[in-house]
């Protein structure tokens, strides 16, 4: 490969600045395809370092009610897997790397090799695969190596030391630490399980470790930024974008949230 499409450059830059990266998730197609892409670009313009482009799926078993509702809306509105490529291109053009987050059957259906080539061509940085474990990922590991794409696998508080090794050895880009057992959604406290998981993960890998599930404001982001390489925020963005009023006003609210979270990841500097 000639160009590294991945996120490691951005994460290294954030580390050099002595701060955590801010990673924001939105599903493509919510409230509609155009609106979702505008929102993703707005996030980049107001401090989000890496964007997670969610592909809407009919059976999102890792997601809580807010994201479930958003992807149902996106599917009802006719969002397709290929719309994700428009999003990754727009985000790349706005100056940030975009990781696609997808349940595995969508990738499998399109063909793993084909999807990987198309994602690379669309400027995508790689894939986050919430229901694909490395044990099942041989085809994707080969395709992502070939295309220079990141492979973000997840670890959880339940992960044993053996599983942490297995997962991190297969990972490229960063390790996604799911801070609490459960589905996506905002939580009032992120809890000590997150720190413990990050520490245990660091013990087995030099890869950056980013923490997700539950963060909704700058203060929580600051707390996590004290020990994580990146703070992942999903539901709070989706809820903000799904609020009442004109799309323009909701995009303004999204920018405010991004700015607050970007403040948080800097205040928590180690």
């Amino acid at each position: 490969m000639s160009v590294d499409l991945g996120v490691s450059g951005v994460l290294a830059r954030c580390r050099a600045e002595g701060r955590a990266a801010l990673i924001g998730y939105l599903p493509v197609g919510f409230p509609d395809v155009e609106g979702s892409i505008r929102a993703m670009v707005a996030m980049v313009e107001s401090g989000v370092d890496i964007v997670e482009v969610g592909l809407p799926y009919s059976d999102p078993l890792m997601d809580g009610p807010v994201i479930q509702h958003a992807v149902e809306t996106a599917l009802a509105g006719g969002a397709h897997v290929v719309d994700g490529f428009r999003a990754t291109r727009a985000i790349r053009d706005a100056g940030a790397p975009a990781l696609v987050m997808s349940y595995w059957n969508l990738i499998l259906r399109r063909g793993v090799d084909r999807y990987a080539a198309e994602l690379a061509a669309a400027g995508g940085a790689g894939l986050i695969t919430p229901d694909l474990i490395p044990d099942e990922a041989n085809e994707w590991i080969a395709a992502s190596e070939r295309e220079g794409l990141d492979r973000v696998f997840l670890v959880a508080p339940s992960s044993t030391p053996e599983r942490l090794v297995r997962v991190t050895e297969a990972t490229r880009g960063f390790v996604y630490a799911a801070s609490t057992m459960g589905v996506t959604g905002e939580r009032t406290t992120v809890g000590s399980a997150a720190r413990d998981l990050v520490d245990r993960t660091r013990a087995v890998t030099d890869l950056p470790v980013c923490v997700g599930l539950g963060v909704s404001n700058g203060d929580q982001a600051a707390e996590l930024a004290q020990y994580a390489d990146g703070v992942i925020v999903g539901t709070a963005f989706v809820r903000t974008l799904g609020g009442d009023g004109e799309l323009g006003a909701r995009l303004d609210a999204l920018r405010e949230l991004s700015t607050d979270l970007a403040r948080g990841v800097r205040e928590g500097a180690r």
Binding site: Y57, M62, L75, N105, I133, S158, A178, M181, G182
Partner: protein, 417 residues
């Protein structure tokens, strides 16, 4: 490829957070199956509680409509709670205790597996929550009431299509959140490894008993073994002991619904492999890989995917899969009622419909073993509607609008699996 594969099918397509629980379960079930104490306890419960061994019944008056082949029914309908489901549920409930967990959760389409799970939970003092699509709770009030009588909590799932697949999604969400003390008691031979293999092993007793019983009755093996296939647990249960008997045809009957031009659940006739609920198998999906909703008059067969071992048996040619439409199944349902005085579950009626076709093909020399996986009491409302046995005016009064927020508050007692 990881462990737990049947050819290219099966696997573990689940969040990493669940892997330790799946490994714990795999270890527990493997050691349990080698443990004489566990096996003795299970055998005792099956003998004194489930009602095993279940009998076989030869049905000559029915067989007159099946090419005069010799037709023998394996009577899983006579088990406690009315279907084969109890075989697996009792065993998994014992495993739950063995793992030191105190809570079980389950999905149910229209109640049969939920009722069986609630039953086993009551028997063993386990906390029990059953997830059920809201559409199903509204139509299956009687089974919701049965589960609640047995002490289970029933949760109506309103997301997605609000049917079985969404109930499974919600159960998986619960499991990942509460996995430390909770066992997900999956009701069929699908889901991530080790569920397909484990649930099959817990139902294998059906085929083990039936093979011996048919040999004793007829002096030889059957020419064909026929079972309906939704997720496929009753079929794997009766097939498995016969897999090495090369001369025995294994025939699975899927739900053809309105026919292949309409809505149906004939996965093997139309679908391609994909991943749903943790397993790679044949899957009804659109061009993007989004799950397509299935349809059948029988809720127990109304599922867009199928157990991975069936996909392997199909692709390897060891088993063959046909489908029966709603109409064909209901004709077979009525026929067994009228000729033999046995009211089958509508699911099982699909197997009977398949046997009628097969009997005509094989003729009077053939012996066909059919798994009568459940009884049809639960299907009386559907049958009454289908055959016009209920006066229209009364019918209108009986069927509520089904718009209540309380899953148990309204419904017409129409039940399926």
């Amino acid at each position: 490829m990881s462990a737990g594969r049947f050819g290219q099918f099966g696997g573990r397509y689940v969040p990493e957070a669940l892997i330790p629980a799946l490994e714990q379960l795999d270890e527990a079930r493997l050691s349990a199956m080698q443990d004489p104490g566990f096996l003795a306890e299970l055998e005792h419960l099956h003998r004194t509680y489930t009602g095993r061994p279940s009998i076989i019944t030869e049905v000559p008056r029915f067989a007159a409509h099946a090419g005069n082949a010799r037709v023998i029914l394996k009577r899983e309908d006579l088990n406690h709670t009315g279907s084969h489901k109890i075989n697996n549920v009792i065993a998994q409930a014992l495993l739950t205790k063995r793992m030191g967990k105190t809570r079980v959760i389950a999905e149910t389409g229209a109640g049969q597996h939920g009722v069986a799970t609630a039953t086993a939970a009551a028997l063993m003092g386990l906390e029990c929550r059953v997830y059920m699509g809201k559409v199903d709770t509204e139509r299956q009030a009687l089974n919701v009431a049965r589960m609640r009588m047995l002490g289970a909590e029933v949760v109506a799932v309103e997301h997605g299509s609000a049917t079985l697949k969404d109930a499974i999604n919600e159960a998986l969400r619960d499991w990942v959140t509460n996995v430390e003390r909770t066992h997900y008691l999956i009701g069929t031979v699908t889901g991530p490894h080790p569920f397909p293999e484990m649930v099959r092993d817990f139902h294998r007793i059906i085929g083990v008993e039936a093979r011996e019983q048919v040999l004793e009755l007829t002096g030889r093996l059957p020419d064909a073994v026929v079972a309906c296939v939704g997720g496929g647990s009753n079929a794997m249960g009766i097939f498995h002991r016969f897999i090495e008997d090369e001369g025995v045809r294994l025939v699975g009957v899927e739900a053809g619904g309105e026919g292949l031009d309409g809505r149906h659940a004939a996965r093997f006739a139309t679908a391609v492999p994909g991943v749903l609920h943790g397993a790679m198998s044949y899957l009804m999906q659109d061009e993007d890989g989004q799950t397509v909703e299935s349809h059948s008059v029988s809720a127990g067969l109304d599922y867009p995917s199928v157990g991975p071992e069936h996909s392997h048996l199909r692709d390897s040619g060891r088993a063959e899969y046909v489908y029966a439409t709603d109409t064909e199944a209901m004709e077979a349902f009525a026929l067994l009622c009228r000729t033999e005085g046995i009211i089958p579950a509508i699911e099982s009626a699909h197997a009977l419909a398949g046997a009628m076709v097969l009997g005509r093909e094989l003729g009077p020399e053939a012996t066909i073993l059919v798994n009568l996986s459940g009884r049809g009491d639960k299907d009386m409302h559907t049958a009454a509607e289908w055959f016009g046995l209920v006066d229209d005016v009364v019918e209108d009064e009986m069927v509520p609008s089904g718009e209540s927020d309380d899953p148990g508050a309204a419904g017409d007692g129409r039940t399926q699996l």
